[in-house]
Symmetry: C2
Subunit: 191 residues, 2 copies
């Protein structure tokens, strides 16, 4: 490993946000999961949580541009326990979901510890998860098609979260807990 590479790894870890997470609700296309993970990496999200589709899930490694290596993936059996666990660890639950109570994503406060819940390609966020969410956020659209691709919605919302956290100075100081920092530093330095 070159000194430049090590410096880059450390700089990335220094900006990782432990309290900005993504939770996917049975997204089933590997390429969408891949693109979500790639955006997580780009915008400082260290942890991605997933409830995999019932019909099982194929590998997504190839199309992620290698980003699966840089984002820790947590599997949950169901949305209810996933949300309960994330809430218990202090996260607000923001569901990317069309509804009467949905607000513009730019009006949500992403400097709070929070998890962005993304729904699947066909059914969106499942009913129970949507009901459980603290807030529904949407990217306003003005076209004929009813929704964005889920990875496009994810990219847009995470870019806004990063903008807000950047303004709040949340990338200026290391925020990962020591244990997670050391563990990731060790793993990322493996060839």
């Amino acid at each position: 490993m070159t000194p430049e590479r090590l410096a880059r790894i450390k700089a990335t870890l220094d900006r990782r946000q432990p309290d900005l997470r993504v939770l996917t609700d049975q997204i089933h296309k590997p390429r969408n999961i891949s693109a979500v993970i790639r955006s997580c990496d780009a915008f400082g999200v260290a942890n991605m949580h997933a409830v995999w589709p019932r019909e099982g899930y194929r590998a997504f490694r190839k199309t992620a541009g290698g980003s699966h290596h840089w984002v820790t993936t947590h599997t949950h059996a169901d949305m209810a326990p996933a949300i309960a666990e994330l809430r218990a660890s202090g996260h607000r639950i923001y569901a990317a979901q069309f509804s009467d109570r949905a607000i513009d994503y730019r009006d949500a406060d992403f400097t709070q510890p929070c998890v962005l819940v993304l729904g699947n390609e066909l059914d969106g966020v499942s009913d129970e998860a949507a009901a459980e969410a603290d807030q529904h956020v949407i990217v306003p659209m003005m076209g004929m098609v009813e929704s964005l691709n889920v990875s496009a919605a994810c990219a847009i919302i995470l870019a806004e979260a990063q903008r807000q956290r950047s303004e709040a100075g949340m990338f200026d100081q290391r925020r990962l807990p020591d244990e997670e920092y050391e563990r990731l530093l060790f793993r990322w330095c493996q060839p």
Copy 2:
């Protein structure tokens, strides 16, 4: 056609932006083109321009969520004439491209007549097109992977363009020329 459907079509056409365009430089994955078109539809882009990859191009209709129907696609043989034509019609050329002269996409003025040039999955924007561009715009990233998926970058930048144009009141009044408006209204009303 229901009156609601017709009203929706008209409302969409009323917000279409004739002078906000996208030009893709040999993007070769159909799913990426599809996602780009879907974001165009969502953010008011009426016209998508493309130079297809040399190795030819397969259909992308299936995965576009039907959005190919709502965005007019223009094919160009090469980037140089495409850029020349768009510039001649008054558009500034903004290339989504990493370079020394790249600026944060939020600092670019998308209320100007402009075209967003997107590069392909492997080589980015081709050299001649990058050299021709008035400005290079990038979405700042803080991860280990070097780039976003092209459709993610497109979604983020068009969402910003829409935000700027919305603030500037550019969606409050119809902006499509009569001829294009009538032609699209007719076509969109076909079953």
